[in-house]
């Protein structure tokens, strides 16, 4: 059976009339103030960070501020700690996004197909997303503690006094569980939007042709949702790469659970090293860009198609 996809909108490039050109120009003028404001709010801190990153600048020794060129970047990129935190951050991203994609898809199907108590079910699936990350971090920290948590009691094969936060692997698992619980609803919302776009006609046609449920899922639903899936993965991956709150609450970076955001926070806020902290945040920004670029390239995400702009 061949893959059924919705026909892509085709057509030659339309000839632009004078009128639409004038409309475009008006539109540009109308959004200009908003663009300027956006630049002020977002571009200024970014440029400031880039500027600070080429200085040796400690908040407690403002007089010793010194231009050091790219040496902060060099130090960061040659430091094993930087690569170790980058590695753990990538691990957080890959595992949480993968698990969330599967669970989120199931939730999206449930929300899409449910016929009874629709409101209640949709709401209960979305509740975790409405909870502040710090609160969910604390909730899961309590759940995982050996003294008063329930996890050790419920999981078979785990001794009652197992300390989840005592070693790297188990602490990372606990942090991931908290992150997955909290953000899966977001994933399922994005996927639900994709599900809603699939035309029932195609599904019925496939059914008439004798496709099983499994075949319909793999040959009709998922291919037609590709754009939505990729947008969901992209959004969540970029979010997950910047993971901070859960780690801050649950381990405070102990047991090598530190992410790259956390390392940046410690340099800037705790050690007052504004120069090094800024260099790290620029590196963080660049790596987020890289992740976005890779996902867009690798999966050939067409953002315009996802927005149905064709």
């Amino acid at each position: 059976m061949t893959t059924l996809t919705a026909p892509a909108p085709t057509g030659n490039k339309p000839v632009i009339s004078d009128r639409s050109r004038a409309e475009n120009r008006l539109g540009q003028k109308l959004i200009a103030p908003a663009i300027v404001l956006m630049l002020l709010v977002t571009a200024f801190p970014m440029l400031r960070a880039i500027y600070l990153s080429v200085f040796d600048y400690s908040l407690t020794a403002p007089d010793d501020r010194e231009f050091v060129g790219l040496s902060n970047y060099l130090t960061a990129l040659t430091d094993p700690l930087f690569w170790q935190t980058t590695g753990i951050t990538v691990l957080y991203m890959v595992v949480t996004v993968a698990v969330e994609l599967v669970i989120g898809f199931i939730f999206a199907m449930v929300m899409h197909r449910v016929i009874f108590a629709r409101g209640v079910i949709r709401t209960s699936i979305l509740i975790p997303y409405g909870i502040v990350t710090v609160v969910s971090g604390f909730a899961w920290q309590f759940a995982f503690t050996s003294t008063n948590g329930f996890v050790n009691g419920w999981l078979p094969g785990i001794s009652a006094d197992f300390n989840w936060f005592g070693e790297t692997n188990s602490a990372v698992i606990a942090i991931m569980v908290s992150e997955i619980w909290k953000t899966t609803p977001f994933m399922s919302l994005l996927l639900l939007a994709g599900l809603a776009q699939i035309s029932e006609d195609m599904l019925e046609a496939a059914q008439v042709d004798g496709a099983t449920w499994w075949q319909r899922l793999w040959k009709v639903i998922i291919p037609n949702m590709r754009a939505a899936i990729m947008v969901a993965v992209l959004f969540r991956a970029l979010d997950a790469y910047r993971i901070f709150d859960n780690i801050f609450v649950m381990t405070n970076g102990a047991q090598k659970t530190e992410s790259i955001s956390f390392l940046t926070y410690r340099q800037t806020i705790e050690q007052f090293q504004l120069g090094m902290g800024s260099a790290l945040s620029v590196l963080l920004f660049l790596s987020v860009l890289l992740v976005a670029f890779l996902i867009v390239r690798l999966f050939r995400v067409d953002l315009a198609a996802a927005r149905q702009e064709g």
């Binding site: 020794a61 403002p62 705790e270 050690q271 090094m276």
Partner: protein
């Protein structure tokens, strides 16, 4: 000027009462907070130890010119430092008075966040640091940066050796004479006892390392006013002596099982164990701060507590010597009062700071909260009160007076974290390599060549 804003509930009667109440509260608030024509309020940021006494003194030290309101800082030292630093870095004009851990003073003073203490008081403090004034030398020294005073010592903390007299007797240790770490560890190991220290990866472990290194006549760093060019000295004979003692303890029978995560609270319960024949059941030698005395005193006849007889078995002695024959350098802690450099009312704040650190305030903190004073005159009054044994008071006083402060540096946070990173866990400390490793790493960190 807080104006309570409340939404009136349903029901006319209640609403009327509430409106009247709100008006009254607002009026009272306006009267007390503003005195009609803008009487300023000084904000005093305090750490959460002895807050009730701080509240009392905030009231007592308020005058016709200004009021003092107490604002609570988080409980962790790092969080306190970060919160104050964020306010001060933003030049907050409402950060008037603040409780500072001694190691923050140099950092904050170098960043020009603290107002210099003026006049006679400054002279008194700087003279005291040289041993010629009312302030205990160890306490006075903590507030001096580049020869100027930037805070006023409020209370001074120190560590002493707490122990079971019966355990020391069994080991035949003469506690009236200075003892060494080696003797203490040996005595505990040979007599079913243990040695309690703070060796989790946090500031108190730095306190331990610093005391050991200074006790051997060395320093972790020197020439700290040079900022990033600070001289790193830990790779020295003193550094190796310190590492040897940590290794000796970690390898010894006397090491407590939670040594690598131990803190000020973890070893308190090892002093008086129910079963003397259990492993390490004979009690312990514990290095800990001054709060210990009041803590165990409060346990007498409490549920799950101790008896008077056991309490009488509690002994105390000066911090053990790293090297035999060389006087130990007990750790110094406590709280200093600083005045914010950006305060809207610097004169009032300075006046209030002196009132808050008055002799009477220090005596009250000692008697109510067990936080020991920083001046000789306050110590005399505390000794006269009879609340503490006289020899204990003298022990505290000499410990602070002859103590060894931690390095004073604008980069203290880096220094402390770098040392902790290489000296933790205590079980991995090796006199042959740890001092050198930590010196190299600290040098790299100071030069901006390594991340922390």
């Amino acid at each position: 000027m807080n104006q309570p804003s409340q939404r009136a509930p349903r029901g006319a009667g209640r609403r009327r009462a509430l409106v009247a109440g709100t008006a009254l509260v607002t009026a009272a608030g306006l009267l007390s907070a503003c005195g009609g024509d803008g009487k300023p309020t000084l904000h005093w940021y305090v750490n959460p130890d002895g807050v009730d006494t701080f509240e009392t003194y905030a009231k007592e030290c308020s005058t016709d010119d200004y009021d003092i309101s107490v604002e609570l800082l988080p409980s962790g030292a790092t969080d306190q430092r970060v919160q104050l630093a964020r306010r001060l870095a933003a030049e907050d004009s409402s950060t008037d008075l603040m409780n500072l851990d001694p190691v923050f003073v140099a950092e904050f003073a170098n960043a020009e966040w603290l107002a210099e203490i003026p006049g006679d008081l400054a002279t008194e403090i700087t003279n005291s640091a040289d041993g010629e004034g009312d302030y205990l030398a160890g306490a006075a020294d903590t507030v001096i940066w580049e020869d100027k005073a930037f805070a006023i010592p409020l209370w001074a903390n120190t560590q002493v050796l707490w122990y079971r007299k019966s355990l020391a007797d069994a080991a035949g240790l003469d506690m009236t004479q200075p003892v060494t770490w080696e003797q203490v560890i040996q005595a505990a190991a040979d007599n079913n006892g243990s040695v309690g220290v703070q060796a989790n990866k946090y500031e108190a472990y730095m306190v331990l390392i610093n005391a050991l290194v200074q006790g051997a006549g060395g320093d972790i760093v020197s020439d700290t006013e040079a900022g990033r060019d600070t001289k790193v000295d830990i790779d020295s004979e003193a550094g190796r002596e310190a590492a040897a003692i940590i290794k000796m303890l970690a390898d010894s029978q006397a090491a407590q099982s939670d040594l690598s995560v131990s803190n000020e609270g973890t070893s308190l319960g090892r002093m008086f164990l129910k079963d003397a024949n259990a492993p390490q059941g004979a009690g312990e030698f514990m290095l800990n701060w001054t709060f210990v005395y009041k803590f165990y005193q409060g346990q007498i006849d409490a549920p799950d507590g101790i008896t008077q007889e056991l309490f009488d078995d509690l002994g105390y002695a000066r911090y053990p010597a790293t090297v035999e024959g060389e006087a130990s350098k007990p750790p110094i802690g406590g709280i200093d009062i600083g005045v914010g450099a950006y305060s809207a009312n610097p004169e009032f704040a300075m006046e209030a700071a002196q009132c808050i650190t008055s002799t009477q305030a220090q005596v009250d903190l000692a008697l109510n909260n067990g936080l020991m004073p920083s001046t000789n005159s306050a110590y005399d009054e505390v000794a006269a009160s009879g609340d503490f044994p006289e020899d204990l008071i003298e022990l505290y006083r000499t410990s602070v007076d002859e103590g060894g402060p931690r390095p004073k540096s604008a980069f203290y946070a880096l220094i402390s974290s770098a040392i902790q990173a290489r000296w933790h866990s205590p079980t991995s400390v090796d006199p042959g390599s740890t001092p050198k490793d930590s010196a190299d790493y600290l040098q790299d960190v100071l030069e901006g060549k390594a991340l922390l």
